[in-house]
């Protein structure tokens, strides 16, 4: 990782002139209090009135030559009577997965995707018809993420509550990978 940290001392000089003084090559591990103290100390050697200090962290992404791959395993578990019927029709463009069936077994989906800084899962809709013919409101009960150096396994656990509000039985799940790439 290549991170450059600098600090900027802001002060007011003669004739109320605002002055900014950059101090480069700050230790990225230094905490903000220590950096501010140094900025104040340096400014105290001048006739300028200290008004603030800013910390700037820059990450150099130009050195990245390859994007590591992440093996993503998405596993969804539901209580037995919901049982999903079909293998999900997953699309590589991260489009939502749509399930309209009433008898689906718990399934596991695996894919390889470009490693992102994080993956967040979005549950768009969660109404499903059980094999008993009743319509259930399905919610994600819990999510676990297990990580190794290049593998991330996400397990989603569902629970269901019977509802009479819905006439459409479908479950839509999508995941969202943020566009910001921080892998160096």
């Amino acid at each position: 990782m290549s991170t450059k940290t600098s600090a900027v001392i802001t002060s007011v000089g003669a004739n109320n002139k605002v002055i900014s003084k950059a101090i480069t090559d700050i230790n990225p591990a230094a905490d903000n209090v220590a950096i501010k103290t140094l900025c104040q100390s340096l400014n105290s050697l001048t006739n300028n009135t200290f008004t603030g200090a800013q910390r700037i962290d820059k990450t150099d992404i130009t050195t990245a030559t390859t994007k590591p791959k992440l093996n993503l395993t998405l596993t969804m578990y539901a209580q037995s009577f919901l049982n999903f019927a079909n293998t999900p029709n997953y699309q590589e463009d991260n489009a939502p997965q749509l399930f309209t069936n009433t008898d689906l077994p718990a399934f596991t989906y695996s894919t390889e995707m470009t490693l992102q800084s994080e993956i967040s899962l979005i549950f768009v809709m969660s109404i499903i018809k059980g094999i008993d013919g009743k319509v259930y409101f399905v919610t994600a009960k819990g999510t676990t993420i297990e990580e190794t150096d290049d593998t991330q396994t996400i397990k989603i656990y569902f629970e269901e509550t019977e509802t009479t509000a819905a006439t459409t039985a479908q479950l839509v799940i999508s995941y969202n990978a943020p566009p910001v790439l921080t892998i160096l």
Binding site: D25, N27, A34, L45, T46
Partner: protein, 80 residues
């Protein structure tokens, strides 16, 4: 009429463990700066300042000096 502008800077030289030096220049320094003022900042800079080459740790302030310079701007309108 020619104009003369005088500026003053404090130049602090930081020494790092890899033997490298780095100068920090501050405009408009106080007149009453003492060596003790500079030495007191040794502990404040430690752990915060890095060497700009190998990222070496700050060791101490090696020197401090004030530099005064004056620049004279010639009035070119009078010669025409």
């Amino acid at each position: 009429m020619d104009t003369t502008k005088t500026t003053k800077q404090l130049k602090l030289v930081a020494g790092f463990t890899d033997g490298d030096d780095r100068t920090i220049s501050l405009d408009n320094p106080r007149d009453s700066i003492t060596a003790a003022d500079i030495s007191a900042m040794d502990s404040i800079a430690a752990g915060v300042l890095f060497g700009d080459k190998a990222g070496a740790n700050f060791m101490r302030w090696k020197s401090a000096k004030t530099v005064e310079s004056s620049v004279t701007y010639l009035d070119l309108t009078t010669g025409n």
